[in-house]
């Protein structure tokens, strides 16, 4: 009862807080924290899910009305949640360490970027860009292209495990990025480092602004991907993947077709990234190879590990924490330190303004992120929400 009141109160108060202080990072963090609290609190399921639905479907867009940047953050979180869930299939369930995952994101992004922009005229002569409405079929095209790329990556690495597999996938990720960077000659397919712009956006229903539109679209995709993920996990396919992760040789001997299941894991994981890539390119209007670096792959992997490998809530929370950390907390920390510097604050008689430029707060971002990762791995290596085994009803006959 107390927890129920607390849940409702926290969500309402923090949402009000964000509305009152639209520029306060702290208020927005509190809002996010309240959602995690609601997810974990011991309250009736109906209350839990209605609170979460109201918060995400109503409160979040309202908050976005007061501060559009927060909606952008939420959209980015959603994009990375889908990426983390896709990688979670490959790494968390099937145990195939993939360090080049962002390549599939790139494949999806370029598939819409090329045909949804005037750039395609360079290749095909004329008739482009495709109308914005083509965006929806291209979600499927991006999905299929990425899945196919996943199979192509899977085929040569079928015999590899662990470290060796990681190195090859790392190389694959780089190959895709370098291709994107250099395929402007002899036929200009990707327009090289200059990137592609402007990329068409679909017409929005009900005259929604694009910020809200992409937020809702991402939210819808997150829901779909979570359902797909859960269904896969609780089926013979998911069990076969986990068996491969636990003991490949035993899995084969128990009748798991290794090649097919591994390729399916790569294809499923890649397809999530592909569909998000299409959305990403439309949302950004501009893409270039810089968005698909090795660091992005590592970032998504960090989300999966931080949240808890093989756990769907873990992947969601991990993606949220890392994205918010990068977009808000660390940036906010940098800004705050800069303000202190400019205000001429002294610490123990030392003026912060005298700090050499090497200590500029903006340069702390990655370091703080790194320290957090190290601490996490020492004190909670299983992740924030580790995977829990499904408990089955033990009625011997029926069920």
């Amino acid at each position: 009862m107390i927890q129920a009141l607390l849940s409702v109160g926290l969500v309402a108060a923090s949402a009000l807080g964000v509305a009152t202080f639209p520029r306060s990072v702290l208020a927005f963090l509190l809002f996010q924290g309240s959602l995690v609290f609601v997810y974990r609190a011991r309250i009736p399921e109906l209350l839990r899910w209605s609170l979460l639905v109201v918060a995400l479907l109503v409160l979040m867009p309202v908050i976005g009305y007061f501060n559009g940047y927060y909606l952008e953050v939420a959209t980015q979180v959603g994009i990375f949640v889908v990426l983390a869930l896709g990688l979670n299939i490959v790494v968390g369930l099937a145990g195939l360490l993939d360090l080049g995952y962002v390549a599939f994101f790139a494949v999806g992004a370029y598939s819409w970027a090329i045909f949804g922009s005037p750039h395609a005229n360079v290749i095909f002569g004329g008739g482009f860009p495709l109308a914005g409405g083509w965006f929806y079929p291209f979600l499927v095209v991006g999905l299929c292209t990425a899945a196919l790329t996943g199979v192509l990556l899977g085929l040569p690495v079928l015999r590899l495990h662990g470290d060796y597999l990681a190195i090859v996938t790392l190389g694959f990720g780089e190959v895709i990025r370098v291709l994107a960077n250099n395929l402007d000659k002899p036929i200009n397919i990707t327009n090289g480092p200059k990137g592609i712009t402007p990329i068409s956006r679909p017409p929005t229903p009900f005259g929604l602004p694009y910020g809200e539109y992409f937020y809702f679209l991402v939210l819808l995709l997150v829901v779909v991907v979570v359902i797909v993920n859960r269904r896969l996990e609780n089926s013979h396919i998911g069990r076969a993947w986990e068996a491969i992760r636990e003991d490949e040789l035993a899995a084969r001997s128990m009748g798991v077709p290794l090649v097919r299941m591994k390729l399916m894991a790569f294809a499923c994981g890649a397809s999530f990234a592909g569909i998000m890539g299409v959305l990403f390119s439309a949302k950004q209007v501009f893409i270039n190879p810089e968005s698909f670096t090795f660091l992005e792959s590592i970032g998504v992997l960090a989300m999966v590990i931080l949240g808890g490998m093989g756990s769907i809530p873990g992947a969601i929370l991990g993606a949220t924490v890392v994205t918010v950390l990068n977009l808000q907390v660390l940036k906010g920390f940098s800004l705050w330190l800069n303000e202190l510097k400019n205000a001429g604050v002294t610490v123990l008689g030392y003026s912060l303004a005298d700090l050499p430029t090497q200590f500029e707060p903006a340069k702390y971002e990655r370091m703080v992120f790194g320290i957090i990762l190290v601490l996490m791995m020492i004190f909670r290596p299983q992740g924030i929400f580790p995977a829990r085994r499904r408990q089955r009803e033990l009625t011997p006959h029926g069920s």
Partner: protein, 262 residues
């Protein structure tokens, strides 16, 4: 025609000949393979289940050649095994381990899973019922939701047996199923195996070091030494064979060599 037949199986690892022209046949019941450590018993199992491709020889099951098939295809045909050093899926629950064993009997596609079709839900509940039945058979029903890693040693051995049975094999290969068990536990496991042979029309090939178990339960015994078959016959015949006594005890009846332990 025998249910299972191997002819002239030879397997070399570099300069070492692990198996040298081994013939083996099985019609029904329980056949034990015994022999000192390094005799090639487990290698023979690995050849039978498709993990190793032999350099020479042939293996047939119900008249179909097994060589060249993948392990999962061989399992689907009805040959399944357990491992000497228990290879369970450690982080999965007991019932999930058994469910993985049923993989080759599931004919549902990706679409059934994604759409949660009626076929899928029906199949899942049938599988769960069958899995619980198997766990019950080996005495693990109460532990169905326990993660395999947390089961006691003897239970893990029995879970591995249940997992192998899940693929509905006609031939079961057990690699030292009683290793590490007390005489009492081993005895009850053997009664279980006898029951399975009778109820499920199952044939079993057993690798075993526990001689009391072997002599009690086997219909026939095959003895390997240095990759060659040195004796074959009923337990009584094998016990009396001078070559077997020599392989186990040495030429002058010196200290036993590798008669127990793995």
């Amino acid at each position: 025609m025998a249910l299972f037949e191997a002819r002239g199986v030879t397997k070399r690892f570099g300069g070492l000949t692990a198996l040298n022209g081994v013939d083996f046949a099985l019609e029904r019941g329980i056949v034990s393979i015994i022999g000192p450590n390094g005799a090639g018993k487990t290698t023979l199992f690995n050849v039978f289940t498709g993990l190793y491709v032999p350099d020479e020889g042939s293996v047939t099951f119900r008249g179909q050649a097994l060589l060249g098939l993948r392990p999962d295809q061989i399992t689907a045909l009805g040959v399944c095994r357990t491992f000497q050093n228990i290879r369970l899926f450690a982080n999965m629950t007991a019932i999930e381990n058994v469910l993985v064993g049923m993989n080759s009997r599931i004919s549902l596609g990706l679409w059934d899973v994604l759409s949660h079709s009626a076929r899928f839900r029906q199949s899942e509940s049938q599988l769960a019922t069958r899995a619980l039945g198997l766990l019950d058979r080996v005495g693990l029903q109460a532990n169905a939701n326990v993660v395999a890693r947390n089961l006691p040693y003897g239970d893990r051995r029995r879970l591995e047996l249940a997992r192998a049975l899940a693929s509905q094999p006609a031939l079961l290969l057990l690699d030292e199923p009683t290793a590490g068990m007390t005489q009492g536990e081993a005895g009850s496991l053997m009664r279980l195996l006898r029951g399975l042979v009778a109820d499920l029309d199952l044939a079993i090939i057993l690798i075993e070091h526990n001689m009391r178990v072997v002599m009690e339960v086997s219909d026939r015994v095959t003895v390997l030494d240095h990759g060659e078959k040195i004796a074959e016959g009923s337990p009584r015949e094998v016990q009396a064979s001078p070559r077997v006594i020599e392989a186990y005890l040495g030429r002058r009846g010196a200290a036993p060599r590798g008669a127990h332990g793995a």
